[in-house]
Symmetry: C2
Subunit: 332 residues, 2 copies
């Protein structure tokens, strides 16, 4: 058996209560006793049993993380690992641990969240995606369990979230294309069940409208998923109608498909992606994209949540992380 607080108490000739107070840095302990207790702890190589502390404190200093596990996108897009790193960095600073689970689908994710909550394993939950009717958000909300969402949720009652300004990012992007002389700009977006899909579409529309460029429904395609194949097919549809000057996509993989189509059909069309995954540098032409700063998103998500858990006031219940437009050959 490992050393417990009792052995330390015995050696230091104080009560277990006192040892406990030294560990938790209670203010009202004399320097003299502190010294004796620390000496005893050192001698015995005492390490507090975290589990026992958790039980007595009704807190684990642990965050639960749900990672969606749908597709291969997980591997091509380093978003999740970057966000996790950001989360981990802040959590380490504050001495929080992180527990994760991959969910294969929304129902699965909900089950893990329930498990996290019920079992008392974690003090708070971080969701790495927000769906349109998000079961996890609904559940956590109704349980009044602390959580934060990476990605702006639909009904922003008092939910904490972090996100990019997807509207703004796309708006700026389209403006930049217009500046470069593009008049007819197509749009290839992912499923509208994701809020960022909607936001990006809105940003696109607004930019066109403000410049009095008309929005053609035939050149706005909603794909089923973020893959090159869907991007390719979407571009085929757009071109069946009319070859545009530029095409804005909401994901680099979609952008790759569009580029592919252009190459095969020898079209000169400016193309933009989103997320700035490492692959985009290696396209031919390399793909202009938007860096969404995934690590910052994760970092700030952890920050909001942990501050709330510690009872600190957050100035606001959300945080907007700026994006960077990375211009490459595909919009030259």
């Amino acid at each position: 058996m490992a050393i417990t607080i009792k052995e330390v108490a015995k050696l230091a000739k104080v009560s277990p209560s006192t040892v406990s107070r030294v560990i938790s840095k209670s203010p009202r302990i004399s320097d003299a006793t502190k010294k004796v207790v620390y000496a005893a702890m050192d001698e015995l190589k005492y390490k507090p049993n975290a589990i026992a502390r958790n039980l007595a404190n009704a807190s684990t200093k642990t965050l639960g993380l749900i990672i969606p596990n749908q597709d291969e996108n997980l591997f091509k897009n380093p978003f999740f690992i970057q966000a996790m790193r950001g989360i981990s960095i802040y959590a380490q600073k504050k001495n929080y641990k992180i527990m994760f689970n991959y969910g294969s689908n929304p129902q699965d994710e909900l089950n893990f969240v329930r498990e996290f909550v019920h079992s008392k394993w974690v003090d708070g939950v971080i969701l790495l995606t927000a769906y349109e009717n998000d079961l996890c958000i609904e559940y956590l909300n109704q349980e009044a369990f602390p959580f934060v969402v990476v990605g702006r949720p639909y009904n922003i009652h008092d939910i904490m979230w972090v996100d990019n300004d997807n509207f703004q990012a796309t708006y700026n992007l389209v403006n930049r294309l217009i500046q470069k002389g593009c008049q007819e700009i197509g749009f290839v977006g992912g499923p509208q069940k994701y809020i960022f899909s909607k936001d990006r579409l809105e940003g696109y529309k607004r930019a066109l409208e403000l410049r009095n460029l008309s929005v053609h429904p035939e050149t706005i395609i909603e794909t089923e998923d973020f893959t090159e194949t869907y991007g390719y097919e979407a571009m085929a549809k757009i071109c069946a109608h009319k070859v545009p000057h530029a095409v804005v996509t909401t994901d680099d993989l979609l952008g790759f498909g569009v580029i592919q189509y252009c190459k095969e059909h020898n079209l000169s069309v400016k193309v933009t992606g989103f997320n700035n995954i490492p692959l985009s540098v290696y396209q031919n032409p390399s793909l202009t994209s938007v860096d969404i700063k995934a690590e910052d998103l994760g970092y700030n998500a952890a920050k909001l949540l942990i501050r709330a858990l510690e009872g600190l006031e957050n100035p606001v219940n959300h945080y907007i992380v700026g994006t960077d437009l990375i211009e490459r050959e595909s919009t030259k």
Copy 2:
């Protein structure tokens, strides 16, 4: 406060001990009581408090994962996220949780391992890299704490590990190149502090030796890290000596650098990578590589460890995961 075992006991008119036995599926409980207890649990929506169970059981059913956090490689190479997924899949099956930490350097990693061990937070540890003199392995070994290493460790006393057969994979690869008529084959490997670097180099040498092809030290380069720049420079060194028929690299990013050099200098050299990262498909020419099945590695690591934790006999204390040679344009 949440529902506890006591409330359930009261409602079911049995003792808390009995409720506990029902939860833990103790065999000697009558069907009748079982039914009553389950009914009471349902009615009260009782969920066991995992932390309390952990304390009483002196076990958390949780695995600790250390993710090295050195470089950007983390993002370009989906190895870690794939391995994590494999681990997660097996762990979920067996109802284990996973806790992770990013370590910025070996010392950092050691600290997290110590923390995992001391605090009693986890029942076992999974290391995602093995170094030459691995502090974590040494520590875990001396503490006799259960752990498994992804990557074959140096001193394989009784350590559990999973790995590819890196020797074999490179050996086969080189043979394939020889078959294709290559006589002079260069080698660009990563730091020798990684065991897989050594193994791959050995496989390369053996293949040449068995065919009576001479091994030229000038065409074997050890780089400091797995980056394109190092690959590029290594190829420059090799070519300063003599332009080979083919170059084997131990990492796709190194391979990218070599390809780049060849393109710039208009050389026709066959090039191979390792790890089969998504980027390799997008090179021009696309890069032949070795798929190391990271998800399988993770899965089997979790399996070995959890089986050991459950007291099940493992037929052997390690597991070899097969590799796939993925031939692409770069070796055409």
